[in-house]
């Protein structure tokens, strides 16, 4: 319905423009590099470089896999925690998640390397754990935020617990849950650069070697695509949050 989707279009447009810019940066980095070299010093010409589209693929796979798994788990846990019979689970999850938030992701990474070795695995674990929290918390808050009168009216009219959840509580909690998903994915995109430090690839690779060799252009080669990717994800999710399901009556 155009009436209710009016608010989404600027965000879809912005997301498309940013995505185009992202692809341009990935496949035509040389253009941006020559622009950067007008003001920044040239170094490390001879270092072999992994093509950006390879780094992009690594980064996207890492983010997509960890985010998807984390969301699925957070969603299920969040729903379970809001069941009337699960007060203890809810208390436990809230306590765990506030504890986990005080832990920097770099620390999780550093701690998991001795357990899981270098490379993809420790990064995967750290990103996965980190991506759970915003979705979990927003799922709980979103479902609990549904007005008591609405739940009372639904039960009084003969909804059972399951249809109450799917037809009333989740649709009403959706904006809050989606905001959690957006925050989680954006954090994940930037946190995934840390994986390069333990050999997981991604856009962190040029950033790390650029920092080591004090090469600002190399740092930009990693940080510009990451920033653009985060912006694409952010605007695309904002567009989804502003979209409305079609009316059925």
């Amino acid at each position: 319905m155009s009436r209710s989707n009016r608010g989404a279009w600027p965000y879809w447009t912005a997301a498309a423009v940013l995505a185009a810019l992202f692809l341009l940066v990935i496949f035509r980095w040389a253009w941006f590099e020559s622009l950067a070299l007008l003001v920044l010093p040239r170094k490390n010409i001879l270092l072999p470089r992994t093509p950006l589209y390879v780094l992009a693929a690594q980064h996207l796979v890492l983010v997509a896999a960890t985010s998807a798994l984390a969301m699925a788990l957070a969603f299920v846990l969040g729903i379970a925690a809001t069941r009337p019979a699960a007060r203890e689970l809810r208390a436990l999850l809230i306590r765990l998640s506030s504890l986990a938030e005080t832990f920097p992701s770099a620390a999780v990474l550093a701690l998991s390397v001795p357990l899981l070795g270098y490379g993809f695995k420790p990064t995967f674990l750290a990103l996965f754990l980190y991506a759970i929290l915003p979705v979990l918390r927003n799922t709980i808050v979103g479902i609990e935020g549904v007005a008591a009168a609405v739940v009372e009216a639904a039960l009084g009219m003969g909804f059972d617990r399951r249809s109450l959840l799917w037809q009333i509580q989740l649709p009403l909690a959706l904006p809050v849950i989606l905001a959690g998903v957006r925050i989680s994915v954006v954090i994940n995109i930037s946190a995934a650069t840390l994986g390069a430090a333990v050999g997981a690839g991604g856009f962190g690779v040029p950033i790390v070697s650029g920092l080591r060799s004090l090469d600002p252009v190399l740092i930009l080669r990693g940080s510009i695509p990451v920033a653009l990717l985060a912006l694409v994800a952010d605007t695309a999710f904002r567009a989804v949050e502003r979209s409305r399901l079609p009316r059925s009556c």
């Binding site: 007005a147 009216a153 039960l155 649709p171």
Partner: protein
């Protein structure tokens, strides 16, 4: 229609409802009234099993409410609450269609029913696609009532349904609702703490205190023989005046057995419409310092006197 037999419900130490007995006849509008915390809402919720009774039995149309799943039971009973509880993400149409959908009616039948109910509630078709946030308080209450009536239940449970709108709108909603209820012949159990509202709507009033039903009687009988000092105090010293609010001047003129030739009021007498109540008439007499007023009916002008006021309460109140 409803038969509550020795029902009790305790929350911890507190007996929210204490061995309550209540009979509501088919087509009757019964009001549960009492101070906050007297258990009237709990008693209402015991009937559709939003609260399960500790002891006792509730029969609806002769069958025990525990003989079906609570969801099935609730789908057969209309339910309206004070804060309305319209689903904010659904349009007016989708809100009204809630219970028909739970009953799996087909689209055409639902659409026709929604149109019918909107018309009945005096809302034009443009309201179909509005969201609850776009409605005024009174409109939202109307949609709430339409939603409760959607699947044509024989019984409606209403918990202070007009409690959150301004006084003028409330009176209008009460009058409209009473008319619709009479026309459709619905049985209604209505919770309120507002004596004036109870008197305006009720066929019978059940006064509750601390979980117990102290007296269940017609509004007139409550005033003639209250079951104790609490009932008397709760109804208030102006209960007689409230009772007068139940009678339209049109009905009062018939009761007062006006002479065959209409009594013609002298010019300058204060004037009221026949749709105003006897309470309005008395108030106008006091305000204008006269003992008689003129009542304008469709084609005639009649006189209504102070003495006629007393004759009204002698009638079947």
């Amino acid at each position: 229609m409803i038969s509550v037999r020795g029902v009790s419900k305790r929350f911890g130490e507190l007996a929210a409802v204490d061995r309550a007995d209540l009979e509501v006849r088919d087509g009757e509008l019964a009001v549960l009234i009492g101070p906050s915390g007297c258990g009237k809402s709990t008693l209402l919720r015991l009937i559709n099993r939003l609260v399960e009774a500790d002891e006792g039995q509730v029969l609806i149309a002769g069958s025990d409410t525990r003989s079906a799943r609570p969801e099935t039971l609730r789908r057969s009973i209309g339910y309206v609450i004070q804060s309305v509880g319209l689903f904010p993400h659904l349009t007016v149409c989708e809100n009204i269609a809630t219970v028909p959908r739970l009953h799996h009616w087909d689209r055409a039948r639902i659409a026709a029913r929604v149109d019918e109910l909107l018309a009945m509630m005096g809302l034009d078709a443009a309201y179909r696609d509005k969201l609850p946030a776009e409605l005024s308080g009174g409109e939202a209450q109307r949609v709430g009532v339409a939603r409760a009536l959607a699947a044509d239940p024989r019984l409606l449970l209403m918990d202070e349904p007009f409690g959150s709108v301004d006084p003028l709108t409330r009176v209008r909603l009460q009058t409209e609702f009473r008319r619709i209820q009479r026309r459709l012949g619905k049985t209604v159990l209505f919770v309120t703490h507002d004596v004036e509202e109870a008197v305006r709507l009720a066929d019978s009033i059940a006064v509750m205190k601390a979980g117990r039903i102290l007296q269940h009687a017609s509004p007139g009988e409550l005033s003639r023989s209250p079951a104790g000092p609490f009932v008397n105090d709760f109804l208030g010293s102006d209960y007689g005046l409230q009772l007068l609010g139940r009678f339209r001047l049109r009905e009062a003129l018939e009761l007062s057995a006006a002479p065959a030739a209409p009594r013609v009021a002298p010019p300058g007498t204060p004037l009221l419409s026949a749709e105003a109540t006897v309470k309005d008439a008395l108030s106008l007499m006091i305000a204008s310092g006269t003992d008689r007023i003129a009542v304008r009916d469709a084609e005639r002008l009649a006189e209504f006197r102070l003495a006629d006021v007393l004759r009204v309460l002698g009638g079947p109140a």
